[in-house]
């Protein structure tokens, strides 16, 4: 805004008053899309609930050793004493949630579960994101036959429903480890991210600021990395948030099918629910209820935040 230099007849205090009043009413103009979206997010109760859940989950995951009363893999004589195949000891002094089916402290396993679940979810999401973004960026930036080839590959991958693809991948893996599960769940998301990024980049290729940059003779790589990628990334971040929820649900489903992480020493909620929770459901339903609740809550948190973010970033909702 240019200074109104033409105001000559106006007293200074009035001029200041105008400036002051103008400043108040015109805030909201000229704020960037992301800052604007961020502000809308902060006003959205769903986003806040989601964020709080995720934050809590993160804190527990990071500070698990401080929060948890015990080592999650240690077997305790006081727990194994009363443990049999058809009865799992409940709460006792020092073990607020009692035992797991192997005489380990269930509360500690729940707490460390946040860590492992985060690990599986984040890695599965990140790996999927990384390769997806890479493929999508190449397809979007290079175009031509490379684009066609990459899109055909994603077609083949998308030809199977996601969980089914993950199941197939685990079945087709020569080893079954935690990584098999993480990679199977990750691969499922590669085509989704690839298509998302490519679509967004294609849309931008025709957008004004990219056309302008091109007209100014900016090099292609520069356009891609400085102009197109950053703008596509918001969509990717939203998708990643939503993917996280799906990833931990898929991991749980794989465990239930007996195709999950085989190492039951690992305290991961999906594994705890899909294996012990189901097997000992009648002996001690808490073994299912707690991990299930934790999964539902975390999935809920990420879905809430992800969808709120998507809504906030939607240009349709700008005012």
């Amino acid at each position: 805004m240019t200074r109104p230099g033409g105001i000559t007849t106006l007293a200074d205090h009035k001029r200041r008053r105008i400036d002051e009043l103008t400043a108040r009413t015109s805030e909201g103009g000229g704020v960037s899309l992301i800052r604007d979206a961020g502000r809308r997010l902060l006003r959205d109760p769903a986003a806040i609930v989601g964020a709080v859940i995720i934050l809590l989950f993160l804190i527990i995951a990071i500070f698990a050793p401080l929060v948890a009363p015990h080592d999650p893999v240690q077997r305790f004589p006081e727990l194994t004493k009363d443990l049999t195949v058809d009865s799992v000891p409940g709460a006792s002094a020092g073990h607020p949630l009692g035992s797991d089916p192997l005489g380990r402290d269930f509360a500690s396993r729940m707490i460390y579960g946040a860590r492992q679940t985060l690990f599986v979810g984040v890695l599965a999401t990140l790996i999927g994101l990384l390769f997806g973004v890479l493929l999508g960026a190449i397809a979007g930036a290079v175009g031509g036959w490379v684009d066609v080839l990459i899109m055909r590959i994603t077609d083949v991958m998308l030809a199977l429903p996601s969980l089914l693809l993950a199941i197939t991948l685990v079945a087709l893996a020569s080893e079954s480890t935690q990584w098999t599960v993480i990679i199977a769940v990750a691969v499922v998301n590669v085509p989704i991210f690839a298509r998302l990024l490519r679509g967004s980049m294609l849309a931008q290729r025709e957008s004004d600021h990219v056309l302008a940059a091109r007209a100014l003779g900016v090099r292609r790589r520069h356009i891609v990395t400085r102009h197109m990628l950053p703008n596509s990334l918001t969509a990717v971040i939203v998708q990643a948030t939503l993917t996280f929820a799906v990833a931990i649900l898929d991991a749980a489903a794989l465990s239930f099918l007996g195709l999950g992480d085989p190492d039951i020493n690992r305290a991961e909620w999906g594994l705890m629910l899909g294996v012990d929770g189901v097997r000992y459901f009648e002996v001690r339903p808490e073994l299912a209820y707690f991990p299930a609740l934790a999964i539902i809550l975390v999935a809920l948190g990420f879905t809430l935040l992800g969808e709120s973010m998507r809504e906030a970033l939607d240009p349709k909702n700008r005012r």
Binding site: R75, T80, L83, T84, V85, D86, S87, P101, L102, G103, A171, S174, E175, S176, T177, G258, L259, P262, D263, I264, N265, V275, V278, R279, Y280, F281, E282, V283
Partner: protein, 549 residues
Amino acid sequence: MRAPGIIAAGIIAALAIGAAGCAESDRGEDDEAATSGTFIFAGAGDPKNFDPIFNDDGESFRPIRQIYDTLVTHKPGTADLEGGLAESWTNDPTGKIWTFTLRQGVKFHDGTALDAAAVCANFDRWYNMKGEAAQSQMIYYTDIFGGFAGSPDALYDNCKAQDASTAVLTLKKYKGAFPGAFALTAFSIASPAAMKQYDADTVTQNGDSFSYSTFANEHPTGTGAFTYGGWDKATGEITLNKNPDYWGDKAKVDKMIIKIIKDENTRKQELRAGTVQAIDFPAPADRKALADEGYEVLERPAFNILYLGINQKNNPKLKDLRVRQAIAYALNREQLVQTKGPGGSVVADQFLPSSVLGYAPDVQKYEYSVDKAKQLLSEAGATGLTLNFYYPTEVSRPYMPNPQEIFTVLANDLQAAGIKVNGVPRPWNGGFKDDVQQFGKQDLHILGWTGDYNDPGNFVGTFFGRPKVEFGDDALTEMFTAITKADATVDQAAKKTAFEQVNRDLAAKWLPAVPIWHAPPAIVTTKNVEGLVPSPLTAEEFNTVSITK
């Protein structure tokens, strides 16, 4: 608890009106009345087919055992032999010639008579089976009879019908497996006429598997207490009908249905819902609850073994007996049995259950002692040992209901004794058996066995009677010789003594593996099921079963 029901009921009503528009049937108690005279038994998996010789798994053998009989059979509830189709049998002093005196007046389901010629026709059929497709599926035959026509290893020489009721089987050499092996379900006697009519020998390869004949699939014909009534694969129901002309105790129910329910949890729930009257292999965790609710939990006498195998090939330290003993001392087997053993499980101190010939009560026991384990390890200079421990996933076996838990507990024990364990999970059919038994990649592994008949050779002979990749190489030649010699002993008393010594040596001198437990599988029935006798061999016959009201 009520609310979901009401909601669901609402949805149902909507569905019923919207989707089908059909009248809601009155679901009363009359459903159960309709099943009187029918015994519904929940099995745990699909049978492969109904030709005994082409099968080697319990789920196929369950219906086969009802349809067919074997020459020799077991006294109900034991692994002791008694007459089957053969009222009696004799063995000549060389152990090579078996003479069977057959029961009179026994008829196959197709009406043809069971006579010596029919028995010999079965032996001849097996020996002369053509084609690798068919031969590759005769697992028990290959194992027991060594091979087929033309093979130097073949045990079979000839079978003669001396008269209508006397069949004489001549083998090339003595084998300790007999006469117990004659009771194997795989060696059930089938009707030669039916086999001919329905091309029983036709096994064709297609893709990665095989097609079987109509005999095996649709017209299994034996002499058993039940006749084959069909297999509805869409609902997983195998129907068996009472054979009114059965030679023995005629079936007390008109019909038996084997309902295939693969998930143990679902089997239990169906039992509770009253839709099946008996379930096989209940989850160990559910047995107590079911017993408390008033169901009959029939434990089979333990006839299996779970062991921790030690492969001496990859890690030279494992060649040292002291290291293997240290492993044995490190394992808290009592606690494993207490915490994870199915009801009736006992710690195993040798590789066969106490009911089997040659069981030695005085073997070295290796009571749990971390100190002894550590001491032995340091004596052997094997502190800081790291071992690859292979364990199977995607599988549940009667002797190993939950391999992952067992592995976790055992690995935990070993770590406590200072042995580092690198756990390697492998899917049962997706590499475990290959890696362990073909390639010997492991240092340690868990595996087990359910006995087929009451013979020590069927246990220790199977594991340690010959060099096996599973346990490393042929370093223990002394062991192979001793077992082979014991197995070849014709005199039963001498055989008993020989195997007792083998078991003592296995525990004290050789220790190629550590026996863990004998874990009896169970059957659970409703209160109104009577006469079901659990078999240690998982070889129940259901003709004695009746259903009271």
